[in-house]
């Protein structure tokens, strides 16, 4: 029996792992792409003639999580900054994406979004994580997919943390007894109750 008859047709959705595919791809060594040095336009920047500020170098060996391009140094515009002539401010260092996004915005004024708005957002980013999880299970060597996962899991973690601050925890891990008088996990609504609390 020839093999193609045994194969259900999946409509070409995704590429199944082929024989010979190796999980041991070379490790991603992409360093930070160097920013293009800004060009000097004498018409706009009369102080042109000074040496261009050296863009901060990206050292992947020390900071392997650096995957984002270095922030462009802010240009010096004499019209707005008459003190041009001083050395350019050092661009903010590249912080690993997950750490930066993990900082929960401790908003002292109160929530910007309603409970349903935040829950809707959590449902959306969590669904992205859920779906890419299943895809990665059958495509464990797909690095693009892993980047997609990283992006959405960071958003999800931050959103879960923020939600817990204003509306009570959705997971046991985000239950923060220091933030509230009572055990909000049990006291806040359960998902099958429906309606807009």
């Amino acid at each position: 029996m020839n093999r193609s008859m045994c194969q259900p047709n999946y409509g070409g959705y995704g590429r199944p792992m082929q024989r010979g595919d190796s999980c041991r791809q070379p490790m991603y060594t992409g360093g930070c792409p160097m920013p293009k040095p800004e060009s000097c336009h004498p018409a706009q920047r009369p102080e042109c003639g000074r040496p261009m500020p050296k863009p901060e170098s990206c050292r992947p060996a020390q900071r392997p999580e650096c995957g984002r391009p270095m922030p462009k140094p802010e240009p010096c515009r004499p019209a707005q900054r008459p003190e041009c002539g001083r050395p350019m401010p050092k661009p903010e260092p590249c912080r690993p994406v997950r750490e930066a996004e993990r900082e929960c915005s401790a908003c002292k004024e109160g929530p910007i979004y309603t409970r349903s708005q935040m829950l809707q957002y959590i449902n959306e980013v969590s669904f992205a994580v859920n779906d890419i999880l299943l895809y990665l299970d059958t495509h464990p060597c797909d690095r693009e997919a892993m980047k997609y996962y990283d992006k959405y899991v960071a958003k999800r973690e931050k959103a879960l943390c923020d939600f817990a601050k204003f509306y009570g925890p959705l997971t046991v891990d985000t239950a923060d007894t220091a933030q509230s008088e009572h055990w909000e996990w049990v006291l806040q609504p359960w998902p099958w109750e429906g309606g807009d609390c």
Partner: protein, 212 residues
């Protein structure tokens, strides 16, 4: 093991109870092709898969089916809370009410209690994965049947449509898992041996059992 998140995978907010629809949708909870049977099927089959890709797919889809059974039981609960005795009787839900009031209990629309005879865990990965492909199609058909009845009620049809779309995606994933398993079998004869029994593949800490 499982953690719990206090949210449904897709929101369910039904404002008007309906006994007849509750009885129909019950089949996706405790019926032959419902989410309870789906999750038990996949979570049972995962142990005898020959590689980690197949194990992972079954584990993770089985876990998502648990989230789906929670959605379906929420739909049933919201369709039955606040029902009057009259509505219950008129819809033919009288016998159910006698034994369960308006509680959620796993049975099919026809009243057959949830039953493991409706699924297999055969211990042969090719067999099991074909069973899973069929199971997803059976679930999709059941959702199609439900949608014909609830198409005009968005608060019920929306979560049902979501669940139906997920079944189709699961079908694709099981197909890919089947490919991975077959790629590791004798290409001249897939049925030469059962990799889960005749030549058991033990995944060790050294090899990943999913990439060759």
């Amino acid at each position: 093991m499982w953690n719990y998140e206090k949210r449904l995978q897709y929101p369910v907010n039904i404002t008007t109870p309906n006994a007849k629809l509750a009885q129909f949708i019950m089949s996706q909870y405790g019926g032959p092709d419902g989410e309870i049977n789906a999750s038990l099927r996949y979570l049972s089959q995962r142990f005898t898969m020959p590689n980690r890709v197949a194990m992972g797919v079954l584990n993770d889809i089985g876990t998502e089916e648990l989230a789906h059974l929670e959605m379906v039981s929420t739909i049933i609960h919201q369709l039955t809370r606040g029902l009057s005795m009259e509505e219950i009787e008129k819809a033919g839900l009288g016998p159910y009410y006698i034994d369960h009031t308006v509680a959620v209990w796993p049975q099919s629309a026809a009243g057959i209690p949830v039953n493991a005879c409706e699924f297999q865990s055969k211990g042969d990965p090719v067999t099991d994965l074909f069973e899973d492909l069929a199971a997803e199609q059976k679930a999709r058909s059941t959702y199609d049947n439900i949608l014909r009845v609830v198409n005009n009620i968005p608060e019920i049809a929306d979560p049902i449509r979501f669940l139906r779309a997920r079944e189709i995606v699961h079908f694709q994933r099981f197909g890919e898992a089947l490919n991975v398993v077959q790629d590791q079998l004798n290409s001249k004869n897939f049925y030469a041996f059962n990799p889960s029994f005749d030549k058991p593949a033990f995944c060790s800490c050294e090899n990943e059992c999913g990439c060759s």
